[in-house]
Symmetry: C2
Subunit: 512 residues, 2 copies
């Protein structure tokens, strides 16, 4: 059966048993191709001296039978190793491991110690204080992929079907030319100058914010900007103000940073600044969504904005303004950003993302910094996660400066306003006795008040009819609102909304 097999060493003799070969080579891995797998497994065994120089290999037929492989597959792997000098073969004799390996370093001592304790000390766990704190709460983000459009009424999403993908393709083609080769070179760590200039113009027109391009830095996401600001501005134990309810991602990264989160409640004027001032006047940072509170949808009144700025001025704190979905304001023009108030320049970090307004996988955002924080922020970004691709920045700069962005926002604002009205209409028609939906003035989603049912029962029943929503309790910590569900309306057209609204009613009435 194994006509060519001739042991030449004690090791090889031990390896005569089929079970030893399967231990040595492991299980076949069909995903890389069986021939490839066998080649790799044999080469590894050779270079690590588990198959020492001079040891004989089993005949191709033996190995093929043992693994259920075609004999040709084994023969091809052997041939490749022969051609590369790992094996030698003489007529009438077994194929053996070469005593003159292609690289002398391969003549290594056998890994007997390693093999004697294949596991040894178990590898170190993710046990740093940062990740320990981070994993104390459920992740706000899905940790595995989405492969389809969002289900109704998934919150915090825009409708990617409305994005002008043809324009995006043409702009890519324009930059991917040999004459534009430098686009492939390393971009300015602060961000592409053309993109920063386009953002400055956008901020002046849409957000009443006047800044110079030197204060604008391109990042991958608002989360990244907040993470870096916490690393710049805080030490573990420092107090930070967090909206309660508020954006879960922000809360988690603040918690992970080791800072002490001060939960500041929200009322109909937005953040209750005096509460924060009373509890922690010396806080290092305050996270706010003044244009449209996430997820309650409240705009912070000018009085409160002014009070917040006064706190920053008198205590030296930094305001992190997450300019979330301020572009989608359906009843008037968007409120100016907090950053546009006089005196805000040196105390407000304004962060905004394009991923929400254009499409999620874009992963480009910007941050407007007080002048003194620009250099440290760029330093921190360049050493941790310089992630914005040069090409995408160039394309995005054109998209902004040539008016495509404004057109897209104007068009989608009209569409989302109509969808908000449709959502209100069908909510009234189908759920008026179950859920109270306030008039929607802005945003991509709305906090809807449950009338006779608690959040977890509602969620469970909605899940059974294929409806997505987020419980308001997910966003709250100490200052409870609700029961309520945060529901998104923007990604769903009128038909989709009506069908889903009927499902919501059926689900909540438990009539399915």
């Amino acid at each position: 059966m194994n006509d060519r097999y001739a042991p030449v060493s004690e090791t090889a003799a031990r390896e005569r048993e089929p079970v030893v070969w399967s231990l040595l080579l492991g299980a076949p891995d069909a995903t890389v191709g069986l021939q490839r797998w066998l080649y790799d497994a044999l080469r590894q065994a050779i270079v690590t001296a588990r198959l020492p120089p001079g040891s004989a290999l089993p005949g191709t037929r033996t190995l093929a039978q043992q693994y259920g492989l075609a004999r040709g597959t084994v023969a091809s792997a052997y041939e490749q190793l022969l051609s590369e000098g790992y094996l030698v073969s003489r007529r009438g004799s077994a194929t053996r491991v070469s005593t003159q390996l292609p690289d002398p370093r391969y003549a290594a001592e056998p890994l007997t110690h390693l093999q004697a304790t294949p596991d040894g000390r178990p590898g170190r766990e993710a046990q740093g204080p940062w990740i320990k704190r981070l994993t104390e709460h459920e992740s706000p983000f899905p940790l595995s992929g989405t492969t389809s459009l969002p289900r109704p009424f998934h919150p915090h999403r825009s409708d990617i079907r409305l994005f002008p993908i043809d324009v995006w393709r043409k702009l890519h083609a324009r930059h991917l030319r040999p004459s534009r080769l430098l686009t492939l070179d390393d971009a300015d760590p602060v961000g592409l100058p053309a993109l920063r200039k386009a953002i400055v113009e956008h901020l002046a027109i849409s957000r009443a914010v006047t800044v110079s391009p030197e204060q604008v830095v391109i990042v991958g996401s608002v989360q990244q900007a907040l993470d870096l600001c916490l690393r710049l501005l805080t030490a573990p134990g420092d107090a930070v103000w967090m909206e309660d309810p508020g954006y879960v991602g922000a809360r988690q990264i603040m918690h992970a940073s080791g800072t002490r989160i001060v939960d500041v409640p929200i009322d109909s004027d937005g953040l209750v600044v005096e509460h924060g001032v009373r509890e922690a006047p010396g806080a290092a940072l305050a996270y706010v969504t003044p244009s449209r509170h996430a997820p309650l949808g409240i705009s912070m009144s000018t009085e409160r904005q002014t009070a917040l700025l006064r706190w920053a001025h008198s205590h030296g704190g930094v305001i992190f303004e997450d300019d979330y979905d301020s572009e989608y304001c359906f009843r008037s023009r968007p409120l100016p950003a907090l950053r546009s108030l006089p005196g805000a320049e040196s105390h407000v970090v304004l962060a905004g993302t394009f991923s929400k307004l254009m499409f999620p996988s874009l992963r480009h955002a910007y941050v407007v910094l007080p002048p003194r924080l620009v250099a440290p922020f760029v330093r921190a970004a360049s050493i941790t996660a310089r992630s914005a691709s040069g090409l995408t920045q160039a394309v995005l700069a054109d998209f902004l400066s040539e008016g495509h962005f404004d057109r897209h926002i104007r068009r989608t604002r009209t569409i989302y306003a109509a969808r908000a009205r449709a959502f209100e209409h069908f909510a009234q028609k189908y759920w008026h006795d179950l859920i109270r939906v306030e008039p929607i003035a802005a945003g991509l989603d709305v906090a809807c008040h449950l009338l006779h049912i608690d959040e977890s029962t509602a969620l469970q029943r909605l899940k059974s009819v294929g409806i997505a929503a987020a419980p308001l309790s997910k966003y709250t910590h100490r200052h409870r609102h609700g029961p309520a569900l945060v529901m998104g309306f923007a990604p769903f057209n009128e038909d989709e909304t009506e069908r889903a609204a009927q499902q919501v009613a059926a689900g909540l009435r438990n009539a399915v």
Copy 2:
């Protein structure tokens, strides 16, 4: 002169003086357009009640003269504010701030306190312990942009002129179609499945590493992967091993993390593992570049790799393998990765980047993790810097799986091998008495030994003739090598190399 001006309040009366208006509105900002600037400045003054409801504005001619603007510019800004309801105008009377502002919230109290202390407490500085440690050393990365191809002999760079940009464009066009709309949707936080599969195949063939796609996570850069691993695996004060000399970016991020860096020397076999074991056997992490040491170019011997793995097994430490420029091996096939050794799976984090092999602004890299670290790593990445764009991942997956990547590497490997020989040749021809260049076996750059001159003098003289190089002392901490310069040869063709080599000789001989 000011025919329509009629003060209606004490505030307005005070504002009669031109100097008050310029204080109120600030200096014109031509970069946003003068009309835009005036509109924004007036609107801000109104919404913040620095111009209270009912107060009169100066005539258009007055304001135009005061700022040196065209009268039409002022009139247009006024008209826009009139049309939006911020201003009212009656024939024969001054233009005034509306008492019925477009949004009732705008009827705010004046920001007198803010203005009384325009600066107040200075804003908080970047003073967290992390950024303080980070800024203790010079940044290894340029903090402002490059606008041209690298100067000879800038190290650590490939030649972007060799990248098949036409293929890259076609792959983009393929994915930017309405039928591929889901590419715009949020990608899997772990990375696009197709890309992870393509990387698994690449690793099996090129690096002898057999892994499943579940262990592969897409990141923006190796730096980001190292930053996240430090956050997962270490607490401040923990010991970590660092190659000395070694990659400056890695050292800085390790230092910023608050860990205690143990400098492990490099000899002709690579990392002197026993030194690390003696000084800090319980280190949490060891950063290594085994395939080709950065910047010395040494490959870690199999004995040392085995010893390193034994240390990890017996002490539970994690090996961070930065698989830097292992693809560019000119004399034999690339060495298998340390991660390919038996027993490495649970103790080695393997990280590699495409930015070096394809083009710098790509900003896509991957990390192969021990199974227990996958979930925490993905958690950490998704909350801090999920930065890899879905489109680029899809394009890169095709580029890999359709063989473009392998073709590109094969082609550039041949070219860089020839350039390495040209570099050796011209170095011998023009500098043989000044700099000793060892035969170049791999990589994009080479550490060149200065014979009769110190590093800073050499750098100064080279700079005067337009030649870039990095002093080896930049990479070293406790264990000095040199004097030497790290010089890149890959981005320069034969002619460019010869011309630059002549300049090097002239500069070093101080003959210019």
